[in-house]
């Protein structure tokens, strides 16, 4: 017996007209959304990103999809619609929300996926790991996996990166589904959790990356911790020493088969090692989750967090020691530092960009508020599962420990999202488990889902003006890759730039925003960039793209006029000549 809860209500085996209509509605919404997204013209010219240019049929598709889902979820007295219908609607939602950019362009969004392809390429060319190159080579697990899969499968790397968000969210949903099965017996709640997980997933961490891979493995570890490794504890009697000792000693495995538990423990240890080798942050998330479950009396063996901690420390002390020498883990710890990096520094820029950031914050707060209300409601009805609460709250403890390049809040909201969705679903469904939502409640649910979908598309694709690249920009980079000799410096205006995917170690890559912050004016920044470019023995290339310029303008680092002045100043210097240009990009060669 496992702790996985059995469904209290079995869906009826026969197909009903409602099921068929819901499935057809899903197909119609997919067709509408995909067609509408494919009509978007690049580059995206809106400060609020894709949401500003997606035509009306896309939103009609989103509306139809959410109505169909709520109808299917409401079902009838026997339960929600059949599982294939619910799965199909989820597939459509993933394609619409996480594949929208794929319908717009055949180039992966953002810079980092390109960089990750370059690291895998560098690994497979060198067949060795040099930890002195950069941080990625201190946690090379995911890149080793990527190099092997790309080599053996013969896949086009860029196509893999393009579809990675859809693939990763699909993997995550399998994990969330299994975790949710361990935590609730209500089939409607299980489906709604998966839906809310997608609707609240604005964090955009599902691209081809170690963190996406790490998050999937984290979900597998949590599933094992809540399943075969779960423990049951006697009633808690108080904080007196004797009571605590009796409570601690009274814990027992929920799973009676020792062989099953040992095999699950071995699998968990393998997963912990791989997570520690693949990503900096995820092992800490695993460690605090396992620690919280153990201290809550819900995980056995109780030494598992200790083992996870030892594995993590061993990885930091040996394979990752090169990186840690120059970057102590707690160097930028502190609540104020974390707030500055995660909130203050992110709320700058044009009005549209600030609006997008505010929508992201509002979406997170909305879901957390719903979850808080759901938690209070469950607590009052004496059905609050302490494990959900622990898994929701524990990621927050990492907030003051590391600013993580200003991304800690994003990661925390992602790791808490499955459990936030679970608690939020408690508010959105009838109080009595297994009851069918009324028509009025279903209407409210549709409205909530629509609001969340609109906010997620806004938040997720809010940077489309600078992280969705045109064919012209890709053509400029391809040309630059051909013309730049080994050892030359390539200087782009800003991040994101879709580079480094083919010759990661072959050039010195810099951006103007990194070379001369915070003043990017021609008078101050121009000489700095020119001096850097001029003093590279193998020559330098300046890459100026529309998207990078938009990045600087949207985030308030320069103005269109200021950027033009900088380019004109650089163009006028000795040894600088225009080597390539098209509608969206210019490449200047700088002689040494």
């Amino acid at each position: 017996m496992t702790s996985t809860l059995k469904e209290t209500i079995r869906p009826q085996a026969r197909w009903k007209p409602r099921d068929v209509w819901c499935a057809v509605a899903g197909a119609v919404s997919l067709a509408l959304a995909a067609w509408a997204a494919s009509t978007v013209v690049l580059p995206v010219n809106s400060d609020v990103g894709l949401v500003g240019v997606l035509p009306f049929p896309f939103w009609a598709g989103v509306l139809i999809l959410n109505v169909a889902f709520v109808m299917a979820l409401r079902g009838d007295a026997a339960g929600p619609a059949r599982s294939p219908v619910m799965v199909w609607l989820l597939v459509v939602l993933v394609l619409v929300l996480f594949g929208a950019a794929v319908f717009v362009t055949d180039v992966p969004r953002g810079e980092v996926a390109f960089r990750h392809l370059g690291i895998a390429d560098a690994l497979s060319r060198n067949v060795a790991i040099d930890p002195n190159i950069d941080a990625y080579f201190n946690w090379p697990g995911f890149f080793a996996l990527l190099a092997t899969v790309l080599g053996a499968a013969g896949l086009d790397p860029v196509t893999l990166a393009l579809w990675a968000p859809v693939f990763n969210v699909g993997l995550w949903l399998v994990g969330v589904a299994v975790v949710t099965r361990c935590l609730t017996s209500d089939p409607r709640r299980r489906w709604l959790v998966l839906w809310l997980f997608c609707l609240g997933n604005w964090q955009d961490q599902d691209y081809l990356s170690p963190q996406a891979f790490g998050f999937f493995l984290y979900l597998v570890v949590v599933a094992l911790a809540l399943g075969p490794l779960a423990a049951k504890a006697p009633p808690f009697r108080g904080f007196r020493r004797a009571d605590l000792a009796a409570w601690w000693r009274g814990r027992y495995p929920a799973e009676p088969r020792p062989g099953y538990r040992v095999a699950a423990l071995a699998a968990t240890l393998l997963l912990i090692v791989v997570i520690s080798a693949s990503h900096q942050l995820t092992p800490f998330m695993v460690l605090i989750a396992l620690t919280a479950l153990t201290l809550g009396g819900r995980l056995l063996p109780s030494r598992l967090p200790l083992i996870a901690g030892v594995v993590l420390m061993l990885w930091l002390v040996f394979p990752a020691s090169t990186y840690l020498v120059g970057h102590p883990p707690l160097a930028d710890a502190g609540l104020q530092t974390a707030i500055d990096a995660n909130v203050v520094d992110r709320t700058n820029g044009t009005a549209g960009h600030v609006l997008v950031v505010q929508v992201r914050i509002a979406l997170t707060l909305l879901l957390w508020t719903l979850a808080a209300i759901g938690t209070v409601r469950d607590w009052r009805r004496r059905r609050l599962d302490i494990r959900v609460l622990l898994l929701t709250v524990t990621p927050v403890f990492l907030f003051p420990a590391q600013s993580y390049g200003g991304e800690m809040l994003i990661r925390i909201s992602l790791f808490a999202l499955p459990f936030v969705a679970l608690q939020a679903s408690s508010v959105l469904l009838p109080t009595n488990i297994g009851y069918r939502p009324s028509s009025r409640a279903a209407g409210g649910l549709v409205l909530t889902c629509l609001v969340l979908a609109g906010m997620t598309v806004t938040g997720r694709f809010g940077n489309a003006q600078y992280d969705v690249f045109t064919d012209d920009e890709i053509a400029a980079i391809t040309t630059l890759d051909r013309m730049a000799p080994p050892g030359s410096a390539i200087i782009s205006a800003a991040h994101p730039t879709p580079w480094r995917n083919t010759d990661y170690l072959g050039h010195r890559y810099r951006t103007i925003e990194d070379l001369c912050p915070p003043d990017l004016s021609a008078a101050t920044c121009g000489p700095v960039v020119y001096h850097y470019a001029k003093h590279n023995a193998a020559g330098s290339y300046l890459l100026l793209m529309s998207s990078a310029e938009s990045s600087l303008v949207l985030q308030g680092q320069t103005t269109p006029g200021g950027f033009d002045d900088l380019e004109a100043w650089l163009d006028a210097q000795d040894g600088v000549e225009l080597a390539y240009s098209n509608n969206n990009a210019r490449v200047y060669r700088v002689e040494p």
Partner: protein, 113 residues
């Protein structure tokens, strides 16, 4: 060990790993090569290892196939890079060997039970 006592899925899994690894090493047209490689690198080892964990929950079983398959391939690839012996062909062979070993371990369980 008496091979007649082996279950068909265990036998099929081991044979499929050997055949698919050979096919992947020889090479196929792109879509087939992709399927064969994903099978031999991730799905077959994942399935073979997940069968050593006697879960009765089908959903957890599917999750374990994916999780263990990806985690094992990551561990093998990373170790090969650190040992500077990596090639994707070596990884294919290693994953096929792991699948066969897991099938043998499962066969011992089946014979014992």
């Amino acid at each position: 060990m008496n091979f007649r006592e082996l279950s068909r899925p265990t036998l099929a899994l081991g044979v499929a790993a050997v055949v698919l690894s050979l096919v992947t090493l020889v090479g196929l047209p792109t879509p087939l090569q992709t399927l064969a490689a994903i099978g031999v690198l991730i799905l077959l080892p994942g399935q073979a290892l997940a069968r050593l964990i006697p879960t009765t929950d089908a959903a957890l079983g599917v999750l374990l196939v994916l999780g263990l398959g990806l985690a094992t391939l990551t561990a093998v690839s990373t170790a090969m890079f650190y040992l500077t012996v990596w090639s994707w062909q070596a990884c294919v062979v290693a994953m096929a060997v792991i699948t066969v070993l897991a099938c043998l371990a499962r066969a011992r369980q089946e014979v014992a039970s």
